[in-house]
Symmetry: C2
Subunit: 419 residues, 2 copies
């Protein structure tokens, strides 16, 4: 189960739930009222129910026996969820290489290392027009075509179900392909084939992943007292009203080390916006990791500006692994486990941060597995959607990235060199 | 060379250098006056000159012929610099595994994958008392001892030159060891054996790395107009005075993807402090990456609160790699290179951010190599040291992390279970 520990938050959450009841009900009502409307981009709510797509991905994976390396070409929402989940859940059956960039040397080094006969290229772009993705795909496609007569077996396309150049290409060439449903935006697409396909190849439990996400869906419909995403959205909202401009996301789990980057995109790109009154709103998500950042960012969290809400994420169980006797270790550690240390650290950090006047709470996971990560990611999507309603922004568009895209294309078209 | 591009910063830097001349001179003077005093922790200034240690590290690496996997056990300053540099510069001669955590399952999975006969364990802790590091080291030591009669050849210790349990252990057992000079703190230690050792095994050009860092040292002594670290420190300071509480560090380079985490520790742990007047000071460093974060954080940077200073880092040269024709690619890309795209993106992002009212400037590197990364890291250490003087804090201690450490030990000693 996904739990919420607020004993050091310093806010009376039950009382706040009462005071904010009307606003929260309006937020949930407003969100759900748009469900099913074209362009609402609420399709992420349905992804956990779509076991048919899951089976299609699994059948495709089982039909290919040559794959030792999977090149996953995608950027932003087309890679961050896959990276986060595969790092935590993959069993290493294939090596997954993420091409989320256009830097020449690492592209060439990766090509040098791969054997095309053992490689599958997965290209991912909702619109099918993402410049970085199409450029890198052109490179890998060229490489496959030059090496393999049956190159088509080595390419799989995940894109819009009907539109865009990648969909057209997949159809014309008769390539394997999967859809990103029309009403699912990039940063809400981790549980679509965008993430399911690399996870299937690396050996994760996809059924458990979606079952966990369905639990998050179920809780989002419950009354306030049992409604986890409404509760955490309210805490985020209250901290925002206090002028806390930074929300830290800090899992105590090395396996979850790429989850913060996924959360940063979800939160920032959904909520950092001009609201309906023309005001700039949003808080800045800051990625962190425990215990690593106790030796990096916690100094600032303790003594720097009191502008932070800090969310710790802590597993309650992991396999028992005892700490052996070793040089310099205090005697009382004998017989304790690594998990004991991890949990004592999270608990102590929460205490030290609260003592310093920052707000902090902990999300607990029974364990780091597919079920709980599915639940956590879907929970955070609900939290973000609720916050969008509370802050009066559309949590599903990204108008602020258009100018940069346009300027890039104009620059390249004019053929100018840097600077 | 490391260059500074401020044409869209919106600040008159030359004028500001004049206005702030006295304060900057005092900052530099105050810093350099402490050089050589015991406890000043300014030994990082001397590391680039220490070619003797470099040769010792190289001789040690050349004396071992069994190493295919290097387990680097260290946390915070004992791993972030090594990770950043090895990802960018390593040639993959050995696989480096970073153990910067205490999570049971990934620890066990790593042990399962390694062959002790081919593995070298590098344990790194300045004090020799870091709980996470000692615990993980105990585990790997136990594994080596159970597997290999000559386990001592498979362990190397990097710690204080004379003190602490790890130094004592290395001496008692006659293990290979390297010093972290007494006057070098963890987050300033990347160019000591902490980073040099894994870099030597992975095949980086250590001589060039230190030569680049010496260039940064040289510039730090120059008059204001040519003094790159004083200039960037001043920009950071002016943005702070404007109430910009967040400083974004955003390299446009996949190879540099771990450099932001290193910078975050350097900046936050050095500067997020209670100053001499009892005020909480500091800005929060936010890691980012281009072009990836154009699809993640840039929406917030454009439309969210105007509380940011954004530092782009851009390579000016990389190997020429042409973009082939490909599905969906605009025709005008034919004949352009991947570097053209990367540079057009960085330039356009800087323009779009400036247009949105955020402050932004670009650090340019001639290329991503050992010389320029050595220069960049040492430059950022000088910038941080100057900022510490301007903000009235000791940039070389970390008093804010002590409470968490004490609480962790107390909790473990009492033997309590979570929560």
């Amino acid at each position: 189960m996904l739990g919420l520990k607020v004993d050091r938050l310093g806010l009376d959450l039950d009382r706040a739930l009462g005071e904010w009841g009307e606003a929260l009900e309006a937020a949930r009502g407003g969100l759900l009222a748009r469900k099913g409307l074209p362009g609402s981009l609420l399709g992420w709510m349905d992804l956990p129910e779509d076991t048919e797509t899951l089976r299609a991905v699994r059948r495709y994976q089982e039909s290919l026996d040559f794959v030792e390396d999977l090149v996953h070409i995608g950027i932003g929402g087309s890679s961050l969820g896959a990276m986060a989940l595969e790092e935590a859940l993959g069993e290493g059956r294939v090596r997954v290489h993420y091409v989320d960039h256009v830097e020449p040397t690492p592209l060439r080094l990766l090509l040098d290392r791969l054997d095309p006969r053992r490689t599958l290229v997965h290209v991912v772009s909702k619109s099918g027009t993402t410049l970085e993705t199409l450029s890198a795909f052109a490179l890998f496609l060229d490489w496959l075509k030059k090496s393999l007569p049956d190159w088509k077996r080595h390419v799989v396309v995940t894109t819009d179900p009907t539109r865009g150049p990648l969909r057209r290409f997949a159809e014309e060439e008769g390539l394997a392909s999967f859809p990103i449903p029309e009403e699912v935006g990039g940063r809400y697409s981790a549980l679509s084939p965008v993430g399911l396909l690399p996870l299937a190849f690396s050996g994760a439990d996809l059924e458990a992943l979606l079952a966990g996400a369905r639990m998050a869906n179920r809780l989002a419909g419950r009354p306030f007292g049992e409604n986890l995403p409404l509760k955490t959205a309210l805490i985020q909202h209250l901290a925002y009203l206090e002028g806390r401009t930074i929300t830290v996301f800090m899992p105590y789990s090395a396996r979850m080390r790429h989850v913060p980057a996924w959360f940063v995109q979800l939160h920032d790109e959904s909520l950092g916006k001009v609201d309906r009154k023309g005001q700039r709103v949003g808080t800045t998500a800051l990625p962190a990791l425990g215990p690593q950042d106790q030796h990096a960012q916690v100094q600032l969290f303790r003594e720097g500006p009191k502008d932070k809400l800090i969310v710790l994420v802590l597993p309650l169980w992991d396999e028992p692994l005892a700490i052996p006797q070793g040089p310099g270790l205090p005697g009382f550690l004998a017989g304790r486990t690594f998990l004991d240390v991890l949990q004592a650290q999270a608990e102590s950090t929460e205490e030290a941060l609260a003592e310093a006047g920052q707000r902090a709470y902990t999300l607990t996971l029974d364990r780091v597995d597919a079920y709980h990560l599915g639940w956590l990611l879907q929970h955070l999507m609900w939290q973000t959607a609720f916050l969008g309603e509370l802050w009066g922004v559309n949590a599903f568009d990204q108008p602020g990235v258009e100018l940069g895209k346009r300027l890039t294309l104009e620059r390249l078209e004019k053929g100018g060199r840097f600077p």
